[in-house]
């Protein structure tokens, strides 16, 4: 294991920070940092808006103007940079002042925690040298309790992997609604007589508006034939989204 893996400032709190608080209130987020090095290390902090794209994932918007659903203007960072002493652990504070007149169902932005590039590049003819930087992206998501919100989990593709001993399914779904939630998927495969030949429940995943998530269902051991696949996406919001599909192996 290379020592470099630990010779940096790392994040010991979640990479997603969800704020569920009324409008007009304030909340403090504490981001746990730890210097794993025997040397003092400098980290810098920056906020950047993003939106979700189903194909590209998070798309960061590098601009002064916040996007419509940004909570970046509400945040006050403790500082824009810190120097952590060798092996020091400390929290970095982010004060969130939620405005009283925000009328969208949610807001988000990303807090980047940047380790300093490990070496500066050198000039030498014919050589391009890149310094390496490790960065942590903490997504800060606000859910507005004052606005009617909805979740809409839409199954947009199903890929069947037949390369292994047993079959595997990879579902891709998108949240077409305007609220974040967590969900899991229950999958059932029925034969033509209605007998259940496979049943599985996926792990829970978080999903933001317009975000895509993949659900992997493995070890599907069924004989060749035609079946009915039934998928139920159960969201923690209480919504259930079902879809069925005839499949032939």
């Amino acid at each position: 294991m290379p020592s470099l893996l630990f010779s940096q400032v790392v994040v010991n709190s979640g990479l997603t920070q969800i704020i569920d608080a009324p409008l007009g209130t304030a909340q403090t987020l504490n981001i746990a940092l730890q210097n794993n090095s025997d040397d003092a290390k400098r980290v810098t902090f920056a906020l950047m808006d993003y939106y979700n794209d189903c194909n590209e994932g998070y798309v960061y918007v590098d601009g002064e103007e916040p996007i419509e659903s940004s909570c970046r203007p509400w945040l006050t960072l403790e500082n824009t940079e810190l120097v952590l002493l060798p092996r020091e652990k400390r929290d970095f504070s982010v004060l969130v002042n939620i405005p009283s007149n925000y009328n969208l169902p949610n807001a988000n932005t990303c807090l980047f925690i940047n380790n300093t590039a490990l070496v500066d590049s050198v000039q030498k003819a014919g050589v391009i040298q890149f310094g390496v930087q490790i960065r942590y992206g903490v997504n800060i998501i606000y859910n507005n309790p004052s606005v009617q919100s909805s979740v809409d989990l839409f199954t947009q593709s199903l890929v069947i992997d037949t390369a292994g001993v047993n079959y595997a399914f990879e579902l891709s779904l998108v949240n077409r609604g305007n609220a974040s939630t967590t969900f899991h998927t229950k999958a059932s495969i029925l034969d033509m007589e209605g007998n259940m030949v496979y049943e599985n429940t996926s792990i829970r995943q978080s999903i933001q508006p317009q975000q895509c998530r993949k659900v992997l269902l493995e070890n599907i051991d069924v004989a060749p034939g035609t079946y009915e696949l039934v998928l139920l996406h159960e969201a923690d919001s209480g919504d259930v989204f079902g879809v069925s599909e005839s499949i032939t192996f």
Binding site: V11, G14, L15, T16, S121, Q123, G126, Q129, I203
Partner: protein, 193 residues
Amino acid sequence: MKKQIKNLKWISVFSLIATLSYGQSYDQQTVDFGISTHSLVGVDANSLTFNFGTPTSAGDGYSLTSAAASTNLYYSYMPTGNGNNNTAVVKVQFTNIPQGVDVVLTVDNSGVSSLSSTTYGSVGTVVSGFETTGSGTAVGSSPSSIIENIGASYTGTAYYTLSYTASVNDYSSLEQTSSNGANAPTITYTITN
């Protein structure tokens, strides 16, 4: 004899009450399994170097039109317990990449694909287009997801191998890169959820 038996019964009842009370005092005991959220990403080199060769005679250009470099990527990741499972991604981004140069990346997961999920967790999958079965995907100044579906996991001494190929696409636009400061070429690895 009869009285002695009664006394014994009372003693038994008191003993039972004492036992129940004693047992109840542990119902609320807090247990800390020491599992806490963390995120660590690392690579095994301080820099990524592409060497196109130095012109030595008048009339020479760089001796190579493309140059390769690789690095090994390790990580340890434990998500928060609120359902954010298997959703972390690693992105790569170049800053101040020289004009006239393209960089293509492939990600080899053969070092981690055989890791036991019960021992190492969900170590993620290579994003489509970056697999070694293809010719790779260009990376540039926008962050590109290269590994996704990362859950609670660690790579141990295994790793993903990131293989970069830099090519000169336009000799006329090549320019000397700055060696330090904000304009220095930098490659950034980002983990986010």
